[in-house]
């Protein structure tokens, strides 16, 4: 019983962790992309459609990543090349993504999906409990863990990561040092889009293998909140993601048991929890100021 609950928590947490990791990288480079929800839903629809038409969920995963990344380029072009307002452009990306995905997915509504099957790692999966929980998962779960380790190494141990953090903290100085601010930010935005797309693919191939309009249901926004919650540090995203996964699954189980609380109140819990967590994290102005990338959301036009 406990194992089953833990497994569902992990499935609910994985898309949040992946999308938040992508956004964390983008924000570390100084770009605030509020379009996570839109990129995620684009990833979900691309993944579902490809998996349905080719029969291969792995091609679906690739399509999800590609769909999210391509869609994020639109945001990159506007905010980085045309220097538009990042908040407004991110909202536009979300609105457009929800519209386009609804349009693309219309013929897929109600069709049975292709579920991404777990990959059982030999030997390791024979360990009691831990083996079945950690080493008999689907590809996307393994990717989510690899992402955290990889991003953590990249940001804090690699030279390029250091440069990227420098851009996020002061793009003017980074530019003066000869670092290509716009190019790095393009790559960071693309990475964020690819991650959001992968998270979307997880939703339509693993979490609920079908296509439902607006199936991301605010998860992109929760991922944005997770980045703040994690104070822009990769490992804390893991903790936050699983916390939210637990709240989501906990309320579903409570609904199933019928605890006497209206189901709508339980469904609202993840959203209310997001607000509470944001308040707790941000109430200390000084630590918020220290953690936030200093040039986050500020426009940059290179002087020539």
């Amino acid at each position: 019983m406990f194992e089953a609950i833990l497994l569902t928590v992990m499935t609910a947490a994985t898309p949040l962790v992946i999308a938040a990791m992508g956004e964390l990288v983008a924000e570390r480079s100084g770009v605030l992309n509020l379009g996570v929800e839109g990129m995620m839903i684009m990833g979900a629809v691309c993944a579902f459609a490809t998996a349905h038409m080719t029969g291969s969920p792995y091609l679906g995963v690739l399509a999800g990543i590609g769909g999210g990344a391509l869609f994020s380029l639109l945001f990159g072009f506007l905010t980085l090349t045309l220097v538009t307002n990042q908040v407004a452009t991110g909202l536009a990306l979300t609105i457009l993504g929800l519209g386009v995905s609804g349009q693309l997915g219309e013929s897929f509504v109600g069709l049975a999906g292709t579920k991404l099957q777990p990959i059982t790692i030999p030997v390791l999966s024979d360990i009691p409990f831990i083996g079945r929980v950690l080493f008999a998962q689907d590809l996307i779960f393994y990717l989510s863990i690899a992402l955290i380790i990889g991003v953590n190494w990249f940001l804090f141990k690699s030279r390029t990561g250091l440069k990227m953090r420098a851009i996020g903290d002061n793009h003017g100085s980074a530019h003066a040092l000869g670092i290509n601010v716009v190019r790095t930010r393009y790559l960071a935005v693309l990475f964020g889009g690819a991650c959001a797309g992968l998270a979307g693919a997880q939703l339509s191939l693993v979490y609920t293998p079908q296509w439902v309009e607006n199936m991301s249901a605010g998860r992109g926004w929760i991922a944005l909140a997770l980045v703040v919650f994690a104070s822009w540090r990769p490992w804390r995203i893991l903790a936050g993601g699983y916390l939210f996964g637990a709240v989501t699954i906990g309320q579903l189980h409570a609904q199933a048991f019928g605890v006497g609380i209206p189901s709508q109140f339980l469904s609202a819990l993840p959203y209310a929890a997001t607000i509470v967590v944001l308040v707790i994290i941000s109430h200390n102005r000084r630590t918020t100021l220290i953690n936030t990338p200093a040039s986050l959301g500020k426009p940059f036009v290179p002087d020539r």
Binding site: T81, A88, G99, L224, I275
Partner: protein
């Protein structure tokens, strides 16, 4: 090839006027392209979408009905965005306003009085404003980002409404449909003309737009909004309080969204049900930007966006295209508006050589 921006010496007034129109033309072009790719005749489809609704009395009324909430919400958001406060939860404030405004007609159906309607509208405004007060409180008191909190509150408000109409407020004689009792005639916002359904919300929208235009143009409060939005530090030196501005901007936009909510329920629907808005609160963000955050411009852009809703319905009926196309149009439009606004502050140059060579270096 590379795109370079060169800052203009001063903001171009010509492009400030042209850019929304340019964005519209680009949206129509790409929309036509989309229809063509879907195998439809682009000109005929665009005609059904954007021209036909304008030549029919019934659809003109529908246009006004859909434009009114968009304009009401968007003028509030424009003030909010100009003061650099990002309320994106207007959809939630709309829902909350609809709920609080409906308390009287749902719980006291036997109270028939000419005071009923004004009381409902005031309660709707208060509900929306107080709901927007939550992110304001969290921002001023706990330094919490208002974008995320206001958005999360949208989901909570919608679930709350869902619970009300399925639970305690459900019409006992409603055959188990998730809806409240129908409002009494005294609780219905009257129609403006005999020729159709358009109701008083349109008047509220125009009054709000003109009043806020006047405030921004001639009153100290408007100046305060602009200064704090563009240079918070400068505003503080002038003695303006940015905390009070957060409260003012959020409660103003929330109140107007709440008014839009109760007007929609009272004027167009006549009862509460789980879904009362086709995303007005989010579309109003596009309306605000297309109107260049200017209340008078927003009247025009509200009508344009209302037309996309109407065109979507028309296209669904006559050509068999899904009405989701209107969402695509709305998203495209916002993208083009934002891109075209770049032209106001910058000159765009295409550079074809790999590197710029400096003369005489």
């Amino acid at each position: 090839m590379r795109i370079e921006l060169e800052r203009r010496a001063r903001a171009s007034t010509a492009f400030a006027a042209i850019s929304p129109l340019l964005a519209l033309v680009l949206t129509l072009f790409f929309g036509g392209l989309m229809f063509w790719l879907m195998g439809k005749d682009p000109v005929a489809t665009l005609h059904t979408f954007f021209i036909e609704p304008l030549f029919d009395v019934w659809s003109l009324h529908e246009l006004v009905i859909k434009a009114a909430p968009l304009i009401l919400i968007a003028v509030g958001l424009a003030i909010c965005f100009r003061s650099n406060n990002w309320n994106i939860g207007a959809e939630g404030q709309f829902t909350m306003g609809a709920i609080t405004g409906s308390i009287l007609p749902v719980l006291m159906p036997e109270w028939h009085s000419p005071l009923l309607l004004p009381a409902m509208l005031i309660m709707g405004i208060l509900g929306g404003a107080l709901y927007a007060g939550v992110p304001a409180l969290l921002k001023t008191r706990f330094n919490t980002n208002e974008i995320l909190t206001s958005l999360m509150l949208v989901y909570i408000a919608q679930l709350f409404l869902d619970w009300l109409v399925r639970g305690p407020w459900r019409d006992p004689q409603g055959y188990n449909f998730p809806k409240t009792i129908s409002f009494a005639p005294e609780a219905i916002l009257p129609e403006l003309l005999d020729s159709g359904r358009a109701h008083w919300a349109a008047v509220f929208a125009i009054v709000a737009a003109v009043a806020l235009w006047f405030m921004m143009r001639f009153m100290l409060k408007g100046f305060e909004v602009s200064v704090l939005g563009q240079a918070e530090r400068a505003g503080r030196f002038a003695g303006f309080s940015s905390k009070k501005m957060v409260w003012f901007a959020l409660m103003l936009s929330g109140g107007l969204a709440g008014l839009a909510g109760i007007s929609e329920v009272s004027g167009s629907i006549g009862h509460l049900q789980p879904s009362i808005s086709p995303g007005y609160g989010f579309t109003a963000i596009i309306v605000a930007f297309l109107g260049r955050l200017n209340p008078i411009g927003i009247i025009a852009s509200g009508l344009v966006l209302a037309l996309t809703y109407l065109g979507g319905e028309a296209a669904q009926l006559s050509i068999g295209i899904s009405d989701k196309v209107s969402r695509v149009f709305q998203g495209l439009l916002l993208f083009f508006v934002l891109s075209c606004d770049t032209l106001i502050l910058y000159r765009i140059r295409l550079v074809f050589s790999g590197n710029k060579t400096e003369a005489g270096a």
